[in-house]
């Protein structure tokens, strides 16, 4: 099977994006465009559900269609537990977000066609990322997610902050993407394949290779920038300038998890090494701490959620890092013991999408209905917006890790994971292992505090209508559907975690740790109560200390003014951008002088260096005069004519003389063609010469007074060296091309022109038939040049008119 429905499914969002603008124009102000777009994620989600039974049986599906077969690039989709869980999140959350956006985005005021085209573009790209088995196809989709994220952040492009945030996210994630590409290139060099699955099979080869560490670090740079890990996290808070549905979708539920996906996908390749273990887990745990501590001081609700997202992504990342130790052990009890961390990571990934999605939507509602997100202005919304409050309560208690919400379960598993990793006898964990539970616990305390801030500062306390731009009231029912669905999932997952675990989480675990495939995952029952364990005491400690600290927040918040990492990082970024801009501006100004002579110096200089250099280095210089025909008197005469007219051009006192001498030179050359019995060339040369002289004469009117530029000896010497260099170089190339016979001449083929093309004129048969493709492109280039001349001159004229 060459083509499959599954590929169509992935490309479906792209295809649908094409018709969105037409739908929008046709139904403008009658039906919200979002209703049409809603079909896409819903259809995707339902179609993907069909794969759950297949994948939970431990099967994987591989479908390939050739894309650029000559380069070995195939659009291979690989469906396994890991890709399926991401795809379900993308389509599921996508459907809810689109539904929510129908009420959030006004159909009268907003440019909806842009919004939905970008969102579909993102959806398709994200599906492409998680289903591609080919590294370079994955890369293309990966960058496409960055680009669609850029477009969506800059959706309200008339705002300066939006443009700033969009550019920041673009620069950072594309920087990561490019280093990831370099890592991919190294990996494909090592393994001689582009397929991720085949790389997993060759993991010993990769582990023993000298490029192992560089490839790993470059790849991780891509993952860390995308998933906003410290210190690349600075782009995420600025990305909150996007409309709230976008923040909920891209910047908390899906796109930022692409980095997590990449790390999970490459755990079988790199996992089991000390470097991978330490880099991933320590970056993750630092990000966890940094995000949660910074979130507490935020006064903008979306900024608080952004830092919270950073922190939660760090949590998942560190779990993946700690769990990679299981790869070291292969299959066995020890492996299963440490694999709990990976299972916790996947579980928290799902949970985070549910509670964070609902919280973002609630914040969006608050913003929409009150006109502000500033917690200093908000308060007392409890009685005014009861449904939003309930959803926010569920979401933030889940985020804080309290029962009976799913966050409690994954937070407990997170503690289990870090506690288990303490007993690792490898990678130096026997010495430093205790760091992880301690940091994890501190970060959880801060997570608890900011969850409480989010909930109580907004909904409890005193209501001040005069501080709000609008009179607060509950959101329309349509806007509440999506957050309510997500919030009920938060509770449902708490009560039935093992259904989710068996069908979705365990298959994903097997994809990350293939050694466990035989046993079909690990034997872990997720339960809310597992006795008086260390994890439970840790949670109780978090709640007690967290509550105390929340109540005394006013007293110790002053500490923050002493260390402001996020401010410092942003200053570093801003100054870096400023320096780079001024540097490149200066550099460009230095060589873009506006003088044609300078540009010709660059062009010819590089030509002499590169062509001449390779001629010498590759030993191509060869002369063979043995087969040459004797030189006739005519030819000598014409060459003397050519040289003379060349000299006249150089020493001419007026432009007119120089132009005519140049024309004479051309006519001499065409006579030379006649002597060599090449009438076509001679004719062409004659006509071209005529046209060029006429053109020069036209330009002559526009050129300034012709005078020898008094630039001194250096100027003339440069000219002399370059012209001599070009002359000698091309003489050498022409002679060497004649002397080096690397293969049989192909002229024999062209001599059959009468039989093959019905043409007695070989030259023309070559032009229009044998090498017709070249001719076609040549005339295209010619036309582009003509249009270029036209636009350059006309544009300049228009501008001059405007100035007058």
């Amino acid at each position: 099977m060459v083509w499959s429905w599954f590929h169509v499914l992935i490309l479906f969002p792209f295809l649908f994006a094409i018709i969105v603008p037409f739908l929008d124009r046709f139904f403008k102000t009658r039906i919200h465009t979002g209703w049409f777009v809603l079909f896409v994620p819903v259809i995707l989600f339902i179609s993907l559900l069909r794969y759950i039974p297949v994948v939970s049986n431990g099967e994987t599906i591989l479908l390939t269609i050739p894309w650029v077969p000559s380069l070995g690039i195939n659009f291979t989709t690989y469906i396994d537990g890991l890709s399926l869980i991401f795809a379900l999140l993308i389509s599921g959350v996508g459907a809810l977000v689109v539904l929510y956006s129908i009420y959030y985005m006004s159909k009268e005021r907003e440019a909806l066609h842009n919004f939905y085209v970008y969102i579909l573009l993102f959806m398709g790209a994200m599906l492409g990322v998680v289903f591609s088995d080919n590294l370079f196809v994955l890369y293309v989709f990966w960058e496409l997610t960055s680009i669609s994220s850029f477009l969506l952040i800059a959706y309200w492009y008339e705002r300066k902050r939006s443009r700033y945030g969009a550019q920041k996210s673009m620069l950072i994630t594309i920087f990561g993407g490019l280093s990831m590409l370099a890592g991919f290139v190294m990996l494909s060099m090592i393994t001689d394949t582009y397929s991720i699955r085949e790389m997993i099979n060759q993991r010993e080869v990769i582990a023993g290779h000298a490029l192992f560490l560089p490839a790993m670090i470059l790849l991780l740079l891509g993952a860390f920038t995308k998933s906003a890990q410290f210190p690349f996290s600075i782009w995420l808070p600025d990305a909150m300038e996007a409309p709230t549905p976008i923040s909920a979708y891209l910047h908390s539920a899906t796109m930022v998890k692409a980095g997590i996906y990449l790390v999970a996908r490459f755990t079988p390749v790199f996992g089991g090494s000390a470097e991978w273990f330490w880099i991933v887990s320590s970056v993750g745990i630092v990000t966890l701490l940094y995000g949660s501590v910074t979130a507490v001081r935020q006064i903008d609700l979306k900024a608080l959620l952004a830092y919270s997202t950073i922190s939660q992504l760090g949590l998942i990342m560190s779990l993946l890092g700690l769990g990679s130790a299981a790869v070291y052990y292969g299959n066995g009890d020890e492996s299963a013991f440490f694999a709990v961390a990976v299972l916790a990571a996947i579980f928290h990934l799902v949970n985070h999408s549910t509670f964070k999605g609902s919280l973002f939507m609630v914040v969006g509602i608050i913003d929409h209905e009150t006109g502000t997100r500033n917690i200093r202005r908000l308060g007392g919304l409890l009685s005014l917006m009861p449904i939003s409050f309930t959803v926010a309560l569920i979401g933030s208690f889940s985020m804080a890790g309290l029962p009976p919400f799913n966050g409690f379960l994954s937070k407990e598993m997170f503690f289990t994971g870090v506690l288990n990793s303490m007993s690792l006898p490898i990678f130096g964990m026997e010495k430093f292992g205790v760091i992880f539970p301690v940091i994890a616990w501190i970060a959880s305390v801060f997570t608890f505090i900011y969850s409480m801030i989010l909930l109580f500062k907004t909904f409890a306390g005193q209501y001040y209508p005069e501080r709000l731009e609008k009179e607060a009231h509950e959101a329309p029912i349509g806007m509440l559907i999506s957050p309510v669905i997500l919030a009920s999932l938060v509770i449902v997952i708490f009560f039935f975690p093992n259904v989710l675990s068996d069908y979705v989480l365990q298959p994903a675990l097997v994809s990350i740790l293939p050694a466990l495939a035989d046993s079909g995952g690990i034997d872990v029952q997720i339960t809310a109560w597992h006795g008086l364990t260390t994890e439970l005491f840790m949670t109780i400690g978090v709640v007690v200390l967290g509550t105390l600290m929340y109540l005394t927040l006013r007293k110790w918040k002053g500490i923050y003014s002493f260390f402001s990492t996020e401010g410092r990082l942003n200053i570093l970024y801003d100054q870096g951008i400023e320096k780079m801009e001024s540097f490149s501006y200066g550099l460009t100004n230095r060589y873009m002088t506006g003088s044609v002579r300078d540009y010709l110096v660059y062009i010819f200089g590089f030509m002499i260096l590169i062509v001449g250099g390779s001629l010498l280095l590759l030993d191509g210089l060869a002369f063979n005069f043995a087969t040459d025909v004797p030189i006739t008197t005519y030819e000598i005469g014409i060459v003397i004519g050519i040289v003379l007219s060349g000299l006249i051009v150089i020493f001419a006192k007026s432009r007119l003389t120089a132009i005519i001498a140049l024309g004479a030179l051309g006519y001499f050359v065409s006579i030379l063609f006649v002597l060599f019995r090449a009438p076509d060339l001679a004719l062409t040369q004659l006509v071209v010469e005529t046209a060029t002289v006429a053109l020069f004469l036209l330009c002559f009117y526009h050129l300034p007074e012709f005078k020898k530029r008094g630039k001194g000896v250096g100027f003339k010497l440069t000219n002399l060296i370059i012209s001599l260099g070009v002359g000698i170089l091309f003489t050498a190339i022409a002679l060497s091309a004649d002397a080096n016979r690397l293969f049989e001449p192909i002229s024999g083929f062209f001599e059959q022109s009468y039989e093959l093309a019905g043409a007695k004129n070989i030259v023309n048969a070559i032009l229009v038939d044998f090498r017709g493709f070249d001719t076609m492109l040549e005339i295209v280039v010619l036309m582009i040049a003509a249009l270029g001349v036209f636009t350059l001159i006309k544009l300049r004229l228009d501008r001059r008119d405007g100035e007058e």
């Binding site: 046209a691 330009c699 004129n761 023309n764 003509a786």
Partner: protein
Amino acid sequence: MKRPNDLLLRAVSKVAVLIILTFSINLFYSGHHNPGGGFIGGLGVTAALILLFLTYDIETVTDNLPVDFKKVAAIGVLIAVGTGAGSFFFDAAFLSQTFGYFDIPVFGKTELATAVLFDLGVALAVIGSAVTIIQTISEDE
């Protein structure tokens, strides 16, 4: 452009342009078996037009020959690409050319080749591009 006293030039041009144009068309058609072809033919026509531009005012020529040469170039490229794409209808590779011998009244046995169509595109592209460049530069005051 300046208007020098150029009676001689004008008198010669009137005849010369006709000769150059005829010769160019001849060059274009003879390209299949003899020296010539679309490129040279196109350049010949361009040369004739340049002569007109030089002899008469550019405005005069443009008024009497109201052709947008940018479009000529575009049409030329389209014809060339179109004949290439036409190969698809005959299940042949892009830009395949073919030829055949036909008996046509008056002319007798004549060879007709698809390459002529392609060459026509080349000729139009050359004329259009070259004249566009010259017109644009000379109009730039």
